[in-house]
C-alpha cells in the first residue's frame, strides 16, 4: 500500500463475461475498501449502480426547478400579454386574474417543455458529455463495453491502489482479463 502508483496509468480494467460476475466482483471490490471505481456496461445494472454510483444524481432537483420556472414564465407571459399589455374583450372573458383557468393549458405546456429539456440536457452535461476522448477507451476490447462485455475499473487515484496488488486482487475475481489502462 505504501508505494502509491504514479499517475501515468488511468487504472486497472477487469473484463467480465457476464453481468452476474460483474455484480459479484463489484461487491467484493467495494468490500475490499476501494472507492474510486467505475463500471462500464452495455446496459444499466441496478446492483452495480448501487455499489459504484450511489446517491443523488442531481437531475431531479434541476428538473423541478425548471418546471417551476417554465410554469411561471408561461403564466406571466400570458398575463402580461392578454391582461396588462394588450387587453382585448373576447367573448366577455374577464380581463383580470379571474381569467386564470384559460391560461392553464399553456402554463402546463411551458412547464413540461422546460422540465423535459432540462432532464435531457442536465443528464448529458452532468455526465460530462460530450466527451469524445476518455482513458477508458484505451482498454483492450473496450468496444465490447457497448455490446456484450462488462468492465470494472479501479482508478489509479484510489488511495488503496497498488499496481501489483490491485492487479492480483482483480485477477482473483475471475475476470476474462485484467489490463492497465493508459492515461
Amino acid at each position: 500500500m505504501q508505494n502509491r502508483a504514479a499517475p501515468e496509468i488511468y487504472g486497472l480494467m477487469a473484463e467480465f463475461k457476464t453481468p452476474e460476475e460483474l455484480i459479484a466482483a463489484t461487491h467484493k471490490v467495494k468490500q475490499a475498501g476501494y472507492s474510486k471505481l467505475d463500471a462500464f456496461t452495455p446496459f444499466p445494472i441496478e446492483e452495480v449502480i448501487e455499489e459504484v454510483a450511489p446517491g443523488d444524481t442531481g437531475v431531479p432537483r434541476l428538473v423541478l426547478l425548471a418546471g417551476l420556472i417554465g410554469a411561471a414564465t408561461g403564466f406571466i407571459i400570458q398575463y402580461v400579454g392578454n391582461i396588462i399589455d394588450y387587453p382585448l374583450n373576447i367573448g366577455g372573458r374577464p380581463l383580470s386574474i379571474d381569467n386564470w383557468p384559460a391560461m392553464i393549458p399553456i402554463t402546463f405546456e411551458s412547464m413540461i417543455l422546460l422540465a423535459a429539456f432540462t432532464a435531457a440536457i442536465s443528464m448529458v452535461v452532468l455526465n460530462g458529455l460530450p466527451m469524445p476522448y476518455h482513458p477508458a477507451f484505451n482498454a483492450p476490447r473496450f468496444d465490447r463495453a457497448s455490446q456484450d462485455a462488462f468492465f470494472l475499473c479501479i482508478e489509479a487515484r484510489d488511495p488503496l491502489f497498488d499496481r501489483a496488488q490491485t492487479s492480483q486482487f482483480l485477477r482473483n475475481l475471475g475476470p476474462v482479463q485484467v489490463t492497465e489502462v493508459a492515461n
Binding site: K17, P19, E20, E21, I23, A24, D38, F40, T41, P42, F43, P44, I45, E47, I49, V52, A53, T57, G58, V59, P60, V63, I77, G81, N82, Y86, I90, A102, M103, P105, I106, F108, E109, S110, I112, L113, A115, A116, F117, A119, M123, V124, L126, N127, L129, P130, M131, P132, H134, A136, D143, A145, S146, Q147, D148, R171, L173, G174, V176, Q177
Partner: protein, 490 residues
C-alpha cells in the same frame, strides 16, 4: 449466457406465451439489431429501396399539393362556409392521434414497469415523431396565409400585439410544439447508448465517425447510467401527462365551441382513448411487416401482438362508450340543435360515415375478445386497417356532419373533398413513410440496450424460478459462481 457462442440459428416456435423467445445472447442481440443500419449502402435490401421509392414519390405528391396550395390558396380544397374545417383538420386530428400510441408505449408503460415495451418502443416513438410531423403541418397549411404562422407565438413585434392565449387554437400551438419537441428529446435520449453500440460495431470509418459524434462519447459508465435512468424516468413522468394534455387540448378546439355535437364534456377522455386506439392499430400495421422483413420475430413475439390487441380492444370500448355518451348528451340536452344533430347523423346525407364508424370502431373490434384472433397476424392486420379507417370516419363525423347542418338551415351545405384534399392526405403518407424508411435504414429500430436489459431480467427471472424461489436478488444467485477456468484464460 456464454457470448462466445455462434449466433443461434435454430428457429424457436412462438407459442404466444413469451415476450422474448429463447436463444438470445448479449452478442446476438447487439448484432442482429445493431447491424441492420450498418449494412453498406450498396447492399441495401431491395424491398427497402422499393418501399422508399414509393414513399418518396408520394412525398413529391405532397410537395406538389403544398406548392399548389401556396399558389392558389385554400380555395383549392372543398372547404367553404359552413364547412370551414374539412380534411385538413380531420387529417390533423387523425395523424396526431396515431402518434399518441408511441408516447403511451414509451412513457406510460415505462412507468408501469412493463418490460415488453422494450421491443417496440423505439419504433413506436419514431412513429409518433413522424405522425406529429404530418399532423403539425396541417393547421399551418390551412391558415390561409401559412407564411405568417409565427403570429401565433408570442414574439417581440412592432405591431404591439399579442396572440389571444385564451383561445383553444393558441393552446394547440403550444401543445403540439411541446409534444413534438419533448417526443424528439425523449427519442434522442433513448438513442444515445445505441449510438455508442453502432459506433463500436461500425467498420466503415465514416459511419463510425457519424455514430461516434451522435453518441457524444457515451462509454456506459455506471455513473452515467445512473443519471441516464433517472432522466429517462423523469422524461417518462413528464411525457405521460403531456400526451394526455395534448389530445385533451385538441378536443377542446371542439368542446369549448358552441357547435352542436362539439360541445360535449366527454370529449377530452374520449379523444385520448381514441388516439391510443388508432395509434395501436397503426403500430400493429407497421410492426407486422417490419418484423417479418428483418427477421425480428424473436424480439417482437405473438405475445406482443396479443397485448397490443388487448389495449386496442380496451381503448376501443372506451371510444364506444364515448359514442353512447354523445347520443345520451344529445337526447338529454333538451336542445333542438343537439337533437337534430343526432337525427342528422342517423338519417342525414352523411349518415354513411356515422354507420361506417360504428361498424369499424364498435363492431369490427369485437373478435379481439378471442385469443385466436389476437394471435393471428392476418386477422390483426385486417382489424387494424378497419380501425384506422374507423378513426378517420370518427373525425369526419365530428367535424363535417356537425358543420354541414349548423344552426341556420339557410346556410346548410354539403362538404365534398376535392382532388387536392385527397392528394394532400395521400401525400402526407409519403412524408410519413419516407421518414420511417430512412429511420429503419440508419437507426436501430429496436432499442438495443433495453433489449439487453430485458434479456438480463428474463434470465434472472428464469434463474429464480429454477432455484425454487431462493435467492431474491441477482447478487445472491451469482456469488461465488465465477468459473476458475475463465480466470486462467487471461
Amino acid at each position: 449466457m456464454a457470448q462466445a457462442q455462434p449466433l443461434p440459428t435454430k428457429p424457436q416456435p412462438d407459442t404466444g406465451e413469451q415476450y422474448l423467445l429463447p436463444g438470445n445472447t448479449y452478442t446476438s442481440i447487439s448484432r442482429t439489431i445493431g447491424d441492420v443500419p450498418l449494412v453498406s449502402p450498396l447492399q441495401t435490401p431491395r424491398g427497402w429501396l422499393l418501399g422508399f421509392t414509393i414513399a418518396f414519390l408520394l412525398l413529391m405528391l405532397y410537395f406538389v399539393s403544398i406548392a399548389w396550395l401556396f399558389i392558389k390558396g385554400v380555395g383549392i380544397w372543398g372547404i367553404n362556409i359552413p364547412v370551414g374545417w374539412g380534411m385538413d383538420i380531420i387529417n390533423f386530428v387523425w395523424w396526431i392521434g396515431i402518434g399518441h400510441a408511441g408516447t403511451l408505449i414509451s412513457a406510460i408503460l415505462l412507468l408501469l414497469n412493463q418490460g415488453w415495451r422494450n421491443s417496440i418502443n423505439r419504433f413506436a416513438e419514431a412513429m409518433t415523431l413522424f405522425a406529429v410531423a404530418c399532423a403539425g403541418l396541417y393547421p399551418i397549411l390551412h391558415l390561409g396565409r401559412p407564411w405568417l404562422f409565427y403570429w401565433l407565438t408570442p414574439y417581440p413585434n412592432t405591431h404591439g400585439m399579442w396572440p389571444n392565449f385564451r383561445s383553444a387554437l393558441a393552446w394547440d400551438v403550444f401543445a403540439i410544439s411541446t409534444y413534438a419537441s419533448v417526443s424528439l428529446v425523449f427519442w434522442l435520449v433513448g438513442l444515445l447508448p445505441d449510438f455508442a453500440t453502432l459506433r463500436d460495431r461500425a467498420t466503415n470509418i465514416w459511419a463510425k465517425r457519424a455514430y461516434g459524434l451522435a453518441s457524444l462519447g457515451w462509454r456506459g459508465s455506471a455513473r452515467h447510467w445512473h443519471r441516464y435512468e433517472m432522466a429517462s424516468l423523469l422524461l417518462a413522468g413528464l411525457s405521460t401527462p403531456l400526451v394526455v394534455s395534448v389530445h385533451s387540448i385538441i378536443s377542446l378546439d371542439f368542446a369549448i365551441s358552441q357547435v352542436p355535437g362539439w360541445q360535449v364534456t366527454v370529449f377530452p377522455p374520449y379523444f385520448v382513448a381514441g388516439a391510443v386506439f388508432a395509434g395501436f392499430a397503426m403500430v400493429i400495421l407497421l410492426m407486422a411487416p417490419v418484423r417479418a422483413w428483418y427477421g425480428f420475430q424473436k424480439y417482437i413475439t405473438m405475445r406482443h401482438f396479443d397485448v397490443m390487441a388487448k389495449v386496442m380492444l380496451a381503448t376501443g370500448m372506451i371510444v364506444v362508450y364515448g359514442y353512447f355518451m354523445e347520443v345520451w348528451a344529445a337526447l338529454y340536452s333538451g336542445s333542438r340543435f343537439e337533437e337534430y344533430l343526432l337525427f342528422n347523423r342517423l338519417n342525414g346525407p352523411s349518415a354513411w360515415a356515422y354507420y361506417g364508424l360504428l361498424f369499424c370502431n364498435a363492431v369490427a373490434i369485437q373478435p379481439l375478445w378471442f385469443r385466436r384472433v389476437r394471435q393471428s397476424i392476418p386477422a390483426l392486420i385486417i382489424i387494424s386497417l378497419i380501425v384506422s379507417v374507423g378513426m378517420w370516419l370518427e373525425r369526419y363525423v365530428i367535424i363535417v356532419i356537425s358543420l354541414e347542418r349548423e344552426f341556420l338551415p339557410s346556410s346548410w351545405d354539403l362538404y365534398i373533398p376535392t382532388f387536392w384534399d385527397w392528394s394532400l392526405y395521400i401525400g402526407s403518407f409519403g412524408l410519413f413513410f419516407t421518414l420511417l424508411f430512412l429511420f429503419i435504414r440508419v437507426l436501430p429500430m429496436i432499442n438495443i440496450f433495453e433489449m439487453r436489459l430485458f434479456h438480463f431480467q428474463e434470465q434472472e427471472r428464469l434463474h429464480r424460478r429454477e432455484h425454487g424461489g431462493h435467492g431474491e436478488t441477482g447478487r445472491d444467485i451469482v456469488t461465488g459462481k465465477s468459473d476458475p477456468s475463465v480466470a486462467s484464460a487471461d
